[in-house]
């Protein structure tokens, strides 16, 4: 399991060329609405896609609608699907959250569309339900791990840590040098989950069947020695006093700024943060590197990976053909090129023929080896199990702020998970 090579990276672009040829078909006309989340990168890339597409098809009008991200956004997506008021094309998570929006009933399958031939199978599995594929990648694949500030590493002569102990030793040196070792940004609570979620490669290394057992109510975070470690790690960095003074109030943009400018050395985050660094701290893009969250042993060191979010077509759309054409455009190498230009490259694409530019930021080049031959990676739990408890981010804030001990936090999360499993109607709960 630990050696799973999920993504065949940067393959030949034969398929992609076929798709490009296919895209030069009759011009489209009509109207589409396109619902995305309100993150600056999503907005920028969606605007670029729409601009490019409507330039090729002047008779098409596409309205971009934005919604909040996080749990509020989930809610809006669910409500609008349930009431038949969904936009024609929309952007949403893959994996466990995708399963929760009842795809078979609400979405238009795209299994047999031409552009799907270029999409990697590993992605298709996390946007499929009832034997049909519904999604097309919105973004490149991501890794969950730790951004680090390269100048600090150079200044203090530190090595990339391969085990948790090495990581903590680095932190100690950074702290001794009077710097902030670990940046946390609990002002936006979703950012607090990373130490737990990104530890999943290490969980699987120790317990390869954890995901299956977790889904069937046989394995628990609190009682699995490997799984509870993610919570322990959160507690460790807090108790050692490595955090920035304003960790409780700082927000994700603060964290991005701090790791880029050297106000802090480490920031646990998903690699999509590279886009935010490129946008807000372009002068410091070369200063940020990335490594996987280290586990107990330096011998098994690998990256927990996230499938990209996806674009879907609502079953209620009035113009399914136009919607498919537009989504096919997003899922083509041309779509990737537009993304690279609009927000930069943040990781490997799941679409054949999509190339990364030659000069990727160091944080991207640091993550690529984990995807290549000899590298190790494993998907995050949410792509192996349909269950993700909604209160994890509050619990991780508590553990990471010393309000609740790690073991209790893990037990509490197990309670939270039970509710989700029951809501999904899973067996064994």
């Amino acid at each position: 399991m630990t050696k799973t090579r999920l993504f065949a990276l940067m393959g030949t672009s034969v398929l992609g060329m076929m798709l490009t040829a296919n895209a030069v078909n009759a011009q489209q006309s009509g109207y589409l609405s396109f619902l995305i989340d309100n993150g600056p990168q999503s907005v920028a890339v969606a605007e670029a896609w729409v601009a490019a597409y409507t330039e090729q098809n002047p008779d098409v009008t596409i309205d971009i609608e934005v919604r909040p991200g996080g749990g509020e956004g989930d809610n809006i997506v669910k409500t609008r699907l349930a009431t038949g008021a969904m936009a024609d094309v929309f952007f949403y998570n893959s994996g466990s959250l995708f399963q929760a929006i009842n795809p078979v009933q609400n979405l238009l399958p795209v299994t047999n569309e031409a552009w799907q031939e270029g999409i990697q199978d590993s992605f298709k599995t996390v946007v499929s339900a009832g034997g049909e594929v519904y999604g097309t990648p919105f973004a490149p694949a991501m890794g969950g791990g730790i951004f680090y500030n390269k100048p600090i590493y150079e200044e203090l002569g530190l090595e990339i840590p391969k085990s948790w102990d090495e990581f903590m030793a680095n932190n100690e040196k950074i702290k001794a040098a009077g710097k902030v070792a670990v940046i946390q940004t609990y002002g936006e609570s979703w950012t607090s989950q990373l130490f737990v979620l990104a530890d999943f490669f290490n969980v699987l290394a120790a317990e390869p069947d954890f995901a299956e057992k977790f889904t069937t109510n046989e394995a628990k975070f609190a009682t699995s020695p490997a799984a509870v470690k993610g919570f322990d790690r959160l507690q460790d960095v807090f108790e050692a006093g490595y955090l920035n003074a304003d960790f409780g109030a700082a927000t994700y943009p603060d964290g991005i700024r701090m790791v880029a400018t050297g106000e802090g050395a480490h920031y646990p985050m998903l690699t999509f943060g590279i886009g935010a660094i490129a946008e807000t701290q372009p002068d410091h893009l070369q200063d940020v590197g990335f490594f996987a969250q280290p586990g107990d042993s330096a011998d098994s060191n690998g990256l927990t990976t996230w499938m990209p979010d996806s674009v879907y077509i609502a079953k209620t759309t009035a113009s399914p053909d136009l919607a498919k054409d537009f989504v096919g455009f997003i899922g083509s190498p041309a779509g990737c090129d537009i993304r690279n230009e609009a927000v930069g490259a943040t990781g490997p694409y799941m679409i054949a023929g999509c190339e990364l530019p030659a000069d990727v930021p160091p944080a991207v080049s640091d993550m690529l080896p984990y995807f290549q031959e000899g590298g190790q990676n494993a998907p995050a739990l949410e792509f192996l199990s349909p269950i993700k408890g909604p209160a994890l981010e509050q619990i991780t804030v508590e553990v990471g702020s010393g309000i609740r001990p790690a073991a209790e936090g893990a037990a509490l999360y197990d309670e939270d998970v039970r509710k989700q499993a029951q809501q999904l109607g899973l067996e064994g709960w």
Binding site: S33, N38, G39, P40, V43, D63, I64, E65, V66, R67, P68, G69, E72, I76, T79, R80, A82, T83, G84, A85, A87, T251, Y252, P253, R257, T280
Partner: protein
């Protein structure tokens, strides 16, 4: 002697209220004048350079001039629903205060329940959809009317109780029909409490955030508060734009306030207190 004491007390009160109430607003205004770098410091400092106009243009232009749509929608929702609220609530308040029947207890109970019960959002969405009102401005207006009726009725009923009954009876003897009595005689007399209603309800509805979030999806239906909320993460690194946005949406309430400031207390005297 008394006046000196009141001057000292007044000066202290002015200083205290300045710190507590005025400085936060000054902070908003100053932030709206700054550029992105300076606003990132989030301190109470004089803006280096005048960037208000640039900020306003950028906020208004964000997402295809969504602010303009939002202001039109919010104004429409506010004006129509407050008008309906005033007419319907005054009608109920009038009959409720005047006519004693065995149903009065039930009606009062329903009004109190309306003040207390948190609305059931999901069933409401389900219902609005059945009525083809989901995601429409009409639907939103009716929701605002339904949720705010109880408070308006309470204000009106209390005030109507202070108007002598003889007035309506005299009007009837003069040959007026009930509808005339109400619209020509009673409603004008209710002006003070109507002002209170206009101020409280229009501000409440204009500032409503949760209800449009659920009952009014879609860009074409954006309201002002939703715009602020939606821009929040887009502006998360641009505090100047965030505060320009807050400043812009504070202007309509400010106008209401400047118009009705003097009458608010009068209306309260009449309405809320003499229950």
């Amino acid at each position: 002697m008394k006046s000196r004491k009141s001057i000292i007390g007044g000066a202290a009160a002015i200083a205290a209220t300045f710190v507590v109430f005025v400085i936060p607003f000054l902070f908003i205004i100053l932030m709206a004048f700054k550029d992105r770098q300076q606003s990132a410091l989030r301190d109470f400092s004089w803006p280096a350079g005048f960037h208000l106009w640039d900020n306003i243009v950028e906020v208004v232009k964000t997402r295809n001039w969504m602010m303009i749509t939002a202001f039109i929608n919010s104004s429409l929702i506010t004006v129509v629903s407050v008008t309906l609220l005033i007419v319907f609530a005054a009608m109920v308040g009038f009959v409720l205060a005047r006519r004693k029947t065995r149903f009065n207890g039930l009606i009062e109970f329903l009004i109190l329940a309306g003040l207390m019960i948190p609305p059931a959002v999901v069933p409401t969405i389900w219902l609005l959809q059945g009525l083809k009102l989901f995601g429409t401005l009409h639907g939103m207006i009716l929701i605002e009317v339904a949720y705010n009726l109880p408070f308006s009725i309470i204000l009106y009923r209390a005030f109507i109780a202070t108007i002598p009954r003889e007035l309506d009876e005299a009007a009837v003897i003069d040959g007026a029909r009930p509808l005339d009595v109400f619209f020509r005689v009673v409603l004008p007399l209710l002006w003070p409490v109507t002002v209170t209603n206009i101020v409280v309800q229009s501000v409440g509805i204009f500032n409503d955030f949760t209800n449009p979030l659920y009952y009014l999806p879609g860009n074409a239906n954006a309201t002002v508060q939703l715009t602020l909320y939606n821009f929040q993460s887009q502006f998360s690194t641009s505090y100047n734009l965030l505060f320009t946005n807050i400043l812009l949406i504070t202007i309509p309430p400010l106008i209401v306030f400047l118009f009705f400031n003097r009458q608010i207390v009068a209306g309260m005297t009449a309405g809320a207190v003499k229950g």
